[in-house]
């Protein structure tokens, strides 16, 4: 077996299969797994309104995050690709610089900024902009802010690489033929970089929907996303089979998103992607 394939099998396929197998059993009375009775009960349970609504809510939060990340990421990538060539590497480097710091520390930094007695609220109260502290932390706003902050660089990178591969003569031809800058962007540049947009969007969506650290820290535990639910099944309820079922469903959802992205890439990117 090729080393790469072996690597993939050991570290990716086997763990996924284990999860898949676990999903068909029940939790033992004291935790662990009751191997004696294969069952579909976990899937019936996952179809309960409670869990479906957590799934949908996570998808909603991930979708909002994705939309905002695209709105910020596309102009940023566009600006970088139009900057003088000697600056581009430095600008990209700045975009990914936050990744040099641990994710948890970056998240805690937001807590320092946003909390009711934190820097932002103290400053606002200090200049008299508000009397009572604004509710910036421990709510959905904070969670989406944290996710957008964490994952926008992926969008910038994906779209930048798409823009890089775009032959500038297309846009020039469009301008020469009398199209405005806006029309050129909407009808030439944007469609031809749709593959990059899709790749960035899927990155952000997939990473956001499975995230459990940000809802826990910036949401103050008051927001339950699917990642938190899975975490709780494995580490609090010690119901591995149900956690495995939920993980399996989440993986299926992510696969769907990736398949969609691959389709978009083939469709829109054509010979350029």
């Amino acid at each position: 077996m090729a080393p790469g394939l072996l690597w993939l099998t050991a570290l990716m396929i086997v763990p996924c299969l284990l999860i898949f197998v676990l999903a068909f059993y029940e939790r033992g009375i004291y935790g662990g797994i009751d191997w004696n009775a294969p069952t579909l009960g976990n899937f019936r349970r996952a179809a309960d309104y409670l869990y479906v609504s957590i799934f949908l809510d996570s998808a909603r939060i991930a979708a909002i995050t994705t939309a905002i990340a695209l709105l910020i990421g596309y102009p940023a990538a566009f600006a970088i690709s139009r900057a003088p060539a000697r600056w581009q590497t430095s600008l990209l480097f700045l975009a990914i610089l936050p990744f040099w710091t641990n994710y948890l520390i970056r998240t805690y930094a937001w807590i320092v900024l946003l909390n009711p007695v934190g820097l932002i609220n103290s400053a606002l109260i200090g200049i008299g902009a508000t009397i009572a502290p604004l509710p910036l932390l421990y709510n959905e706003f904070a969670v989406i802010l944290g996710l957008v902050y964490s994952y926008t660089p992926f969008v910038v990178l994906a779209i930048y690489s798409s823009l890089q591969r775009l032959d500038p003569s297309y846009a020039e031809a469009s301008r020469d033929l009398g199209a405005s800058a806006l029309t050129t962007f909407l009808r030439i540049t944007l469609p031809l970089t749709a593959a990059g947009v899709a790749a960035g969007a899927v990155f952000v969506f997939v990473l956001s929907i499975g995230n459990f650290v940000t809802p826990d820290l910036l949401g103050g535990g008051k927001l339950q996303m699917i990642g938190n639910l899975i975490y709780d099944q494995f580490l609090t309820a010690r119901d591995w089979p149900f956690g495995a079922t939920l993980s399996g469903l989440l993986i299926a959802l992510m696969m769907l998103a990736l398949a969609f992205q691959a389709m978009a890439a083939r469709h829109a990117g054509g010979g350029h992607a």
Binding site: R27, G28, G31, N115, G221, Q224, R238, D239
Partner: protein, 350 residues
């Protein structure tokens, strides 16, 4: 091997692989404890006293170590430090070994009450290491009326709305609701779960956050005025800000116990008992109180503590007989599913 046991075997093999890498060799004990929950020089001192090597692993939560040992069938560790419901589960799973009291002379250092714990009367499979209560920790300078009931937490007064936190760990979160309603902290009956769920969903809207790691710093910074807290953690707040007070609500508390469990798979029963005996000496008991600020069931250790400490942290002085009045959290067994679904309902509520 039957078809049914194949997945079990594959699964256990895959997961126990890592455990085996750190498995016990002769005269080396593998301990897993929470980080910072025993003296840093424990291994050196134990080696000097007995010639036995300690290999100390850490777990962040009970559930983490439970996951590891249930997956590996108990292999890989000699001694675990876990909370009492988990000690109980380990025993029910057949993974815990009986404790031989004749090999632990220092067992005499324990309070008599420490031998009467409901999850394990007579300490047959577990030895208590720390114990305490769960109550209300608050800023006496930021709150109009000092809290005295669980309802002061669950239905916070206007002046502290949005400045209240509850523990995020499911059992204690629910315990606040159970105790407020005069129910057992081990309730799994559906109607009671529903009643408490409705209350806690209502409470959620008045909460700053769920928090079981930084609640005392939120009190210190003034972000929060009232938090549900373990007594020892409230002490961390009191240490920084004397205006912080701790009270056990009039409806009572749970009695939590963290204990030491010997694994049945351990191949060094003598060394393991020497280790427990060592942990139970007065010096280590005193270390726990002075450094973790938890109460110790170790009478000799408690008595060695400077009395000034008991004055500064009044909850340290709760008498063992009073602790024993409170109900312990027990493993919920079959009831766990209904219980955890209820918790998910609260967590998902808007």
């Amino acid at each position: 091997m039957t078809f049914k046991t194949i997945p079990a075997a594959v699964f256990a093999a895959a997961l126990s692989f890592t455990a085996m890498l750190t498995a016990a060799q002769a005269e080396t004990l593998v301990i897993s404890n929470w980080d910072g929950y025993m003296p840093k020089d424990m291994a050196e001192k134990f080696k000097a006293a007995t010639g036995i090597d300690l290999e100390i692993a850490v777990h962040a939560t009970n559930e983490e170590i439970m996951g590891k040992v249930t997956a590996s069938g108990g292999e890989g560790f000699d001694v675990l430090f876990v909370s009492s419901p988990f000690a109980e589960a380990l025993n029910n799973l057949g993974l815990a070994a009986p404790i031989d009291h004749s090999k632990i002379p220092n067992m005499a250092n324990l309070y008599p009450e420490a031998m009467q714990l409901k999850h394990d009367p007579g300490n047959t499979f577990s030895v208590p290491y720390t114990w305490g209560t769960t109550g209300l920790c608050y800023r006496s300078d930021l709150i109009k009326t000092a809290p005295s009931s669980w309802n002061d937490l669950l239905k916070p007064a206007e002046d502290i709305k949005g400045k209240v936190t509850m523990l995020s760990t499911d059992r204690w979160l629910m315990a606040a609701g159970f105790l407020a309603n005069g129910m057992s902290v081990n309730t799994t009956e559906q109607a009671s779960l529903d009643k408490v769920r409705d209350q806690l969903v209502e409470t959620k809207r008045a909460l700053l956050s769920y928090d079981d790691t930084t609640f005392y710093s939120k009190l210190v910074s003034g972000e929060a005025s009232l938090v549900q807290a373990w007594d020892g953690w409230c002490n961390y707040g009191i240490a920084e800000k004397p205006e912080i007070k701790y009270v056990i609500p009039k409806e009572g508390s749970d009695l939590w116990v963290d204990s030491i469990v010997v694994m049945k798979a351990s191949k060094n029963p003598d060394a393991v008992h020497k280790f427990i005996d060592f942990v139970l000496n007065a010096e280590n008991g005193k270390w726990v109180v002075e450094n973790i600020m938890y109460k110790s069931p170790n009478k000799a250790g408690m008595e060695a503590v400077d009395k000034a400490m008991l004055e500064k942290y009044p909850n340290m002085a709760i008498a063992p007989a009073d602790l024993l009045k409170y109900e312990q959290l027990r493993d919920l067994g079959e009831g766990m599913k209904a219980f955890s679904k209820t918790v998910s309902e609260i967590m998902a509520a808007k």
